[in-house]
């Protein structure tokens, strides 16, 4: 209301000057935009332009027959995902697995943050550097090799079972790999082991960006070490944490497939099949690029929708949008 009254009160000269100012401002903001145009061109070229490929989802495309000679099938591939009740039931189980894995990952997404804080509390610089380097190592080992290591350790004749049997802790070998008990938790443990050190890098960077004077001042005021962490470090890491959290929420449907693929077997299949793996398993028998496109298109759309919802929720609850 006040603004309106102000405006009314303004003299014409003032208005003119403001307009001129606005014009300059607009010009300036346009010029700023021009600076990022080269990058936008890249985005268009490599991200938007290829989206033409989504039309494959509505054809029965099989190379080498070019698209213009392929048959248009409309929504056939989308309908096929829910063709009969058994399939729907299976798909539901797959979605449950996907959600469970994603929820577990989201619920544990503060681990890297704690890891970074803990690591930062280690005083010896060299010791800390060594730990930091070595804990990122699992990130570089492919899932195929992780499985061969897991097999050496945890198979029925593996190291762990041998050890436990020799110590007479157990009589029969424990089936770590080929049973369906706690499949979700086991998968979570593997992915945590592989990604924890690597995931903490972002937080370590944020910690080193914290203004040192804040700590100094707090110390002089008699704050304890815990209080420093509680009132300075953690709040400083929160923005990054929230961004990461929101990104993983909107990535709900994408668990990736490598990990689940190498660990899957007949016994844990019911609970290990996440969406990406399911698509692969179903696709194995048919090699349909169109079906694969239909699914990835659907996933893209759902993910963007999720991101958008999360963004709105974030705006309402935190007062700040994430993107």
């Amino acid at each position: 209301m006040e603004n309106v009254i102000d405006n009314q009160k303004e003299s014409e000269a003032l208005q003119q000057r403001r307009q001129q100012h606005d014009k300059a401002k607009r010009k300036r903001s346009r010029r700023m935009w021009l600076l990022i145009v080269p990058f936008l061109v890249l985005v268009v070229a490599f991200s938007y332009y290829p989206l033409f490929g989504w039309v494959y989802a509505f054809f029965d495309y099989e190379p080498p027959i070019p698209l213009r000679d392929s048959q248009f099938v409309g929504m056939q591939w989308f309908k096929m995902m829910v063709a009969n009740s058994t399939q729907v039931r299976q798909l539901m189980q797959v979605l449950i697995n996907t959600f469970a894995m994603s929820l577990l990952n989201i619920a544990t997404s503060f681990f890297p943050l704690l890891f970074a804080i803990g690591l930062n509390e280690i005083r010896n610089k060299h010791f800390r550097n060594i730990i930091q380097t070595l804990t990122t190592l699992p990130n570089f080992i492919s899932w195929v090799l992780v499985y061969s290591i897991a097999f050496a350790m945890f198979s029925t004749n593996g190291m762990v079972n041998d050890l436990l049997q020799n110590l007479n802790v157990i009589a029969a070998p424990i089936k770590f790999l080929d049973s369906d008990s706690l499949t979700w938790i086991k998968m979570l443990l593997w992915s945590t082991w592989k990604g924890l050190g690597w995931g903490s890098i972002i937080y370590l960077a944020s910690i080193s960006g914290i203004d040192q004077e804040l700590y100094e001042a707090a110390r002089v005021d008699g704050a304890s070490r815990f209080q420093l962490i509680r009132y300075i470090t953690i709040p400083a890491l929160m923005p990054t944490f929230f961004v990461m959290l929101m990104l993983s929420v909107s990535n709900f449907l994408n668990n990736g497939m490598d990990q689940y693929f190498v660990f899957q077997n007949a016994f844990n299949q019911t609970h290990i099949q996440v969406l990406d793996l399911y698509v692969y398993n179903v696709g194995m028998g048919q090699n349909s690029l169109s079906y694969a496109t239909a699914i990835s298109m659907l996933k893209s759309l759902v993910s963007v929708a999720l991101l958008w919802i999360v963004n709105i929720v974030s705006k309402k609850t935190r007062g700040a949008s994430i993107i």
Partner: protein, 596 residues
Amino acid sequence: MDKNSTLFKSVVSGIKKVAVVATVALASVALFACSSSSADNSSKKAEKDDGKLMTVTVYDDLANYQGLAKGWFAQYVQDKFNIKLKMVAPNVAGGGNTLFDTRTAAGNLGDLIITGTGHVNKLVKANLLTDMTPYLDGMKYIKKYDGATKAISDLADKKGTWGIASSVSSGSPTEASEGLEATTVPYIRWDLYKKIGYPTLNNTDDLLNALKEMQTEARKEEGKKDIYAISLFKDWDGASMQNAGQNLAFYGWEPTNYALAKGNGSKYESLIANNSQYVQGLEFLNKAQQMGLVDPESTTQNWDTMYAKYQAGKVLFSYWSFLGQGAYNTSANMAAGKGFELAPLKGMKVFSNGNMPDGNTTFIGIGSKAKNKARLVKFINWLYSPEGVQVQQAQSTGYSAGIKGLTWKMDGDQPVLTDFGKKALLEGGSVKMPAKYGSGTWKDGISTLNFVAVMQYDKDPTTGYKYGYVTWPSVLKINETKLSKDWSEHMGGATSTMDYLKKNNELLVAAGVSYTAPEDPATVATTRGSVQTQIVSSSWKMVMAKNDTEFKSLLTSMQKTVKGLGYDDVYKVDLKNSKAKNAARQKVIEQYKDEK
């Protein structure tokens, strides 16, 4: 209310923004749509050869090497045709069908193309293959196997000579195509079988009991408790559990995915039917498992791990000669009387593929963008000539004998290996090539095409003996060992697995046909994907079932689930293909009778 309305507003504004983004995206998409279309340049006229040295790109589904071919075979081809071979190998490149998909999308698969016959129709339709007709004058060997070119022509909708099928044979289609070893039969550790006193094996139960005794014996002998009669792996599972499907071949059955058929077309059944041959295969493995004969790591290990166990003598049974014998029958073990040999299981009627006069389901053709097509046709012609078969199909063991005068020669009217040939073909092949034939070792220089033009057990018209030197009398004598003698003594003097099966009338030869199944309708293909996941995982569970009751209930639930997923539609297609294949077989048999 207020809160809701602001939420609603932001949703609406969100939609607006999404719409703007979408518009920009669509605008950029529109650019895409007017991308180039390839010109049709299928000229019927023959082009002249410029005679220059050229690098030929070979797209080869069978190759295990990618890049420029090197070594003696490459040298041989260059000297003869002025051609360098540049291999493009999906097996090596990785990514499944990626290479095929992207290369065909780009409009050039390769100058020479070696791929499955299932692709012929589409490749012709997309104008990626050359019609060889104008170049066929004087191409003696391509013409000799005209059935193999016709088999490919028949698959295309357009008239023309689009390629020639592989693995052709001039032998009778009603005769077995195997040489010494059958494809799938029960192989057991003969030395242990000997130790337990050669018990009679009237049926698979006897076989299991013998294996049980052998396992006990082996564990006692070696002092190791991790020796198992049977070890399985899942790497090759496809439509069903691959290992369980092997028993089919013992009794003359052949699977076409879910339709099981007797090799002579006398019987058909569904893979999941109660008591089908496949279910019996599962029962066999489950019984073995209940008797403690199955390696518990079977469910989680891969081929590599399992193969190492065979090499270490920790597994006592094998479905294939290339596994048991390949891993364990080293010259040292065989000299000591140890090794895998065919088990004398009674009542077998082993499935065998007959010779295929019209070739197998792989073919070789020329890409539409290739240069000097006349020369490439000559090259293909050479691959099917006796010299081409001898040289191109030589490996470091088995197969053809290589270059005449270097690795083999005629001794009177008999072919024999030279001393160099023995080193190259019987002792691992790490022998250095003479300077005349280029550099490197024999083993490193063998053909990278990995293409079987003519079956190696076909008769070589230039020698009067088969191409495969392992069947030459002179080589059979060299290969005799303590193990093979003992086996032969107890098998009625048989000289080889195939010899034994033929003598005892335990072979069911399915006439050799080149049958390419039509592609699945799109909807069936998707159903197939979900059905097979279910069948494979249930099969493994059944093999590992603790008792017969659990086995039965797993079977019932599998049948119910896959039927719900649409198994019957898939089965119908498979049955149709299986019957079509059999019809083709009958036709070949008739044809062959007429020719006689």
